[in-house]
């Protein structure tokens, strides 16, 4: 491993710890980082510790897992489709999840049922897109992308139908869900395990991903079983995304922006990019969620709005830098 890669990962670990400390301290009861650390290390008890450990810790955990899942899925989708604009939702998984979750809300279900409905909807979308894109044991990235985008548009229409035909009070919670919201969510151990398993699997395949990024034929010429790798990528990225939307709805921009930020920081080798994406994606969402609940406290914003507010300018800057990169003429 190169020195700069090692430094990047160590820095990101530090950022992760910092983001967690900030998140545990922010909210309507403001705690400074020192108090947070003292509370974490000691056992002073009291209201402060109760707020931190029982309210904020599960939410911070959920934010980290969701961010990690989305950023990892984003990296995988971008390699699978070899399209820098791909994100975890591009193939319609969030649309399927949202349609099912909204339908569940319309039928009067709430709480844990929403998550389950979302997961089932996401799985349905994964199967539909796969079934339509796969023909005779073969699929092209273009075909997959087109199928995903079209299915996604179909889900969008269904979501609009559900929104326009629902009663006013349920529309409000539907909108929160659509924007991505962590206030109702807690991530259980299963989602953490899925994140860890996905990370471990992809770190193992990382050097093959480096080759696949140069194109499918080139990868095949270098001994990669491309068809198998694409299947693994599609299903891993899909399951990671399904988990993320189950926890927090469709939080935007994390899966698109984080991989690009890291590539610009020099982490293009997937052996570094993949673990780095999980760390940065996780801590980015933890920070965004801290803002979401403290900026207009006691009012809470959906975290998806905050990630977009940070993500839009960040992405525009990246796009500008990219055009400069490709237009650069060497003399």
């Amino acid at each position: 491993m190169q020195r700069r890669h090692f430094l990047l990962l160590v820095t990101l670990l530090a950022v992760t710890v910092l983001s967690i400390v900030i998140s545990l301290g922010s909210g309507s009861l403001d705690l400074n980082p020192l108090t947070v650390l003292r509370q974490l290390l000691g056992s002073e008890g009291g209201l402060e510790q109760q707020v931190m450990l029982e309210l904020r810790l599960p939410r911070t955990f959920a934010a980290f897992v969701t961010g990690g899942l989305l950023a990892l899925s984003g990296v995988l989708m971008q390699v699978l489709l070899r399209n820098p604009l791909a994100d975890p939702y591009i193939l319609g998984i969030s649309g399927g999840a949202a349609s099912a979750a909204l339908a569940a809300m319309l039928l009067g279900f709430g709480g844990a049922w929403l998550g389950q409905a979302a997961f089932v909807g996401a799985l349905a979308s994964i199967v539909i897109v796969f079934g339509m894109a796969w023909s005779q044991g073969h699929w092209s990235s273009t075909r997959l992308l087109l199928t995903g985008v079209v299915v996604s548009a179909g889900w969008g229409a269904l979501i609009n139908i559900l929104l326009t035909t629902s009663a006013n009070n349920s529309v409000y919670s539907m909108l929160f869900w659509l924007m991505g919201d962590l206030s109702q969510s807690s991530a259980g151990w299963p989602s953490f395990l899925i994140l860890t398993a996905g990370l471990a699997l992809m770190v193992r395949l990382a050097s093959s991903l480096n080759v696949l990024a140069r194109g499918e034929l080139q990868a095949a010429a270098l001994g990669v079983d491309v068809a198998r790798l694409k299947l693994i990528l599609y299903f891993t990225a899909s399951v990671l995304t399904a988990c993320a939307v189950t926890i927090a709805g469709s939080v935007g921009f994390v899966g698109l922006v984080i991989p690009h930020m890291l590539r610009l920081l020099g982490a293009r080798d997937h052996r570094v990019l993949i673990p780095a994406a999980v760390l940065l994606g996780g801590s980015f969402l933890v920070i965004a969620d801290s803002f979401a609940r403290s900026i207009m406290s006691p009012l809470q914003l959906p975290v998806g709005v905050v990630t977009a507010v940070i993500g839009v300018p960040a992405f525009l800057i990246i796009l500008r830098r990219n055009t400069r990169l490709t237009l650069e003429v060497r003399e």
Partner: protein, 257 residues
Amino acid sequence: MSAPILQVNKLSLEVAGRVLCQDLNLHIDAGECVALLGQNGTGKTTLLHTLFGFRRPAAGNILLCAKPTGQWSKKELAQLMGLLFQHMNDEMPSTVLETALLGRHPHLSTWRWDSSEDIALARQSLAAVDLLPFAEHEVATLSGGERQRLAMAMLLVQNPRLYLLDEPGNHLDIAFQIRTLALLKQKIAATGSALCMATHDINMAARFCDQVVLLLGNGEHAVGTADEVLTPELLRKAFNCDIYRIRHEGRWFYFPG
């Protein structure tokens, strides 16, 4: 005598019901250079891809180092054969050195970082195609010819027994065309490997290749030494165009009429 690197027996190729090549027999020994010539669409690339195992032949079999290609694993095939494509994709950003290092992929175990020997080999290969000063540059900033040389460097890093080249002269100026082929020819002579290239350049084929496969369309073909196959009669049949040759300093030179 050791087994030939590649042996092709009664090979037939079809694409969408169109016969590209029928009953082709070809024998490539260590140290040999073979040229594939033919009009557009006669199946040069298809033949190279079939040799690599990307597609199945309609009939016949291919033995690589005395074993049918189907019996080698994908990774083993990539250790034994390297393929230079007509175009090089660069959809995702990467530097020149990172790209050259990808050639080591078939030789590495799944979870391993490039060793200092791998990096030294990549730098040496970049130096061989004059790209070492650009090692840390983005691939996107390279010209077409420089990308072609980078692809060649990647192939040198891969270090296969059989080099399959699809129009290696693409985008290269005439000096680099000669230099890269001379370099490869030297390399295969030194390492006992072999080379098979699809090309449109009859003069390059005559200069560098021991054997020529001339695809005539409709499944017909001629195989033999350059002097046997590269005759005005066969070339006219292959290209539907008058091609003349003149002799200069003991070599044939070809030009269209």
